[in-house]
């Protein structure tokens, strides 16, 4: 099969690769690059587990081909904090029990990072609309909403 040479920025690092056209961006991240923080739940756009930032905007990585990322910048959950130094939104999920099994968490985090940057003081309704494209089978969402509220407070305090 014909391969395509691509060059892209992943979590701030310039990366080159050769990919088959049909390789999904989600599989490229997980299998070729070993960035397994991006989860794959449904591969048809419904669950949101595979959400990443594409030039800063949250998108489904299961609904893009890796070859389409040529020349673009991608951020995955690995770009957030480390276990010793959590990103504020990760810290808030930890504090509010915003996760149980954690399968959905990377998708929620990558959806919420740009949301809180653009909307540092969201209402509960805005929070629920922002996460409407992410499914969680464990938490019942309430703790996730609580986590976003905590993160928003921390963000606002940080910048004041």
């Amino acid at each position: 099969m014909n391969k395509h040479a691509i060059q892209l920025t992943i979590n701030g690092t310039q990366t080159k690769a050769e990919v088959e056209a049909r390789l999904l961006l989600s599989d490229f991240l997980r299998h070729d690059l070993g960035l397994t923080g991006t989860h794959v739940g449904c591969e048809h756009g419904v669950c949101g587990a595979c959400t990443i930032l594409f030039d800063g905007d949250p998108v489904r990585s299961c609904l893009m081909f890796a070859v389409q990322a040529d020349g673009h910048a991608i951020q995955t959950v690995e770009a957030l904090g480390t276990p010793e130094n959590l990103h504020p939104i990760q810290a808030a999920f930890h504090e509010a029990h915003g996760l149980q099994c954690g399968f959905c968490t990377p998708g929620f985090l990558m959806t919420l990072v740009p949301f809180l940057e653009q909307n540092p003081n969201p209402t509960e309704e805005e929070i629920r609309a922002a996460i409407s494209g992410n499914l969680c089978r464990c938490t019942g969402y309430q703790h996730i909403v609580d986590a976003v509220k905590i993160a928003a407070t921390n963000y606002t305090n940080d910048t004041n």
Binding site: A21, R22, T51, F54, D57, R60, M64, A129
Partner: protein
Amino acid sequence: MKPAPFKYIAPSTLKEALDIMTRHGYDAKLLAGGQSLIPVMNFRLAQPAIIVDLNKVTELNQFRKTERGGLRIGPMVRHSQLEHSQTVAEFAPLVHETMPHIAHPQIRNRGTIGGSLAHADPAAELPVIMVALQARFRLQSADGERWVNAEDFYQALFTTALEPEEIIVEIAIPPMPRHAGYAFTEIARRHGDFAQVGAAALIKLDESGYCRQARLVFLNVGEIPMVADQAAALMIGQLPSSDLIAETAMNAAQNEIEPAGDIHATTDYKRHLAYVLGKRAIQQAAARAREARGL
């Protein structure tokens, strides 16, 4: 789930894209936002031999307001661009209000207007809105171009007037009629899901509050956007009273839709929803029309 192998071409001009489509027609599929096409490729329900990616054709992702207050929209304009545009909010308020109903934020960041219109899902919002607003689409092939009315574009389930080698290159929305009110409403099991039924209405009143123009179009109660012109005609020359609005919606729901039942909603339930949503849409549109007239 992996798509079947295909050849990938990413032209950077419309001319190149048109040439490729002329050469390959039936074997090639245009890739816009991929939010409908890639799921069916992942399931292998579609196995196109050639994918022609329009994402580098920057001449197709622009939109502008015309001098008369209409909009000209390139097919690669993304849902989120329309959702957040001040120009769209001001000059095409019905489009603005409808955008948040389409899928989820992450899908709207990729999905395009051209892709949604060409995909022709009976449950999609934009085809209904374009039919309600009497928009026109410019279809181009290497041989030339033609304009098609939104209402004539939709022919049957997932079937449009597009020829295999044609590309939707522009969407023209006429200026909103002066003193007109508009509304869109739908019922979905969860926000962002495809709706079970939806209704769009446009109402124009004269200076005394009598109805001059009425348009009512339904979503997901037929193979294509369902236009209820006969029912809407009941309103012309009348004051839009609650009784008249209810009668119009009832008439439309009984005579001008063809809902197919599914596991979520029976045919009767969909007719009931069409009646209720049709009524709400006309009521809101009429109230806004009265406001626009200062009545």
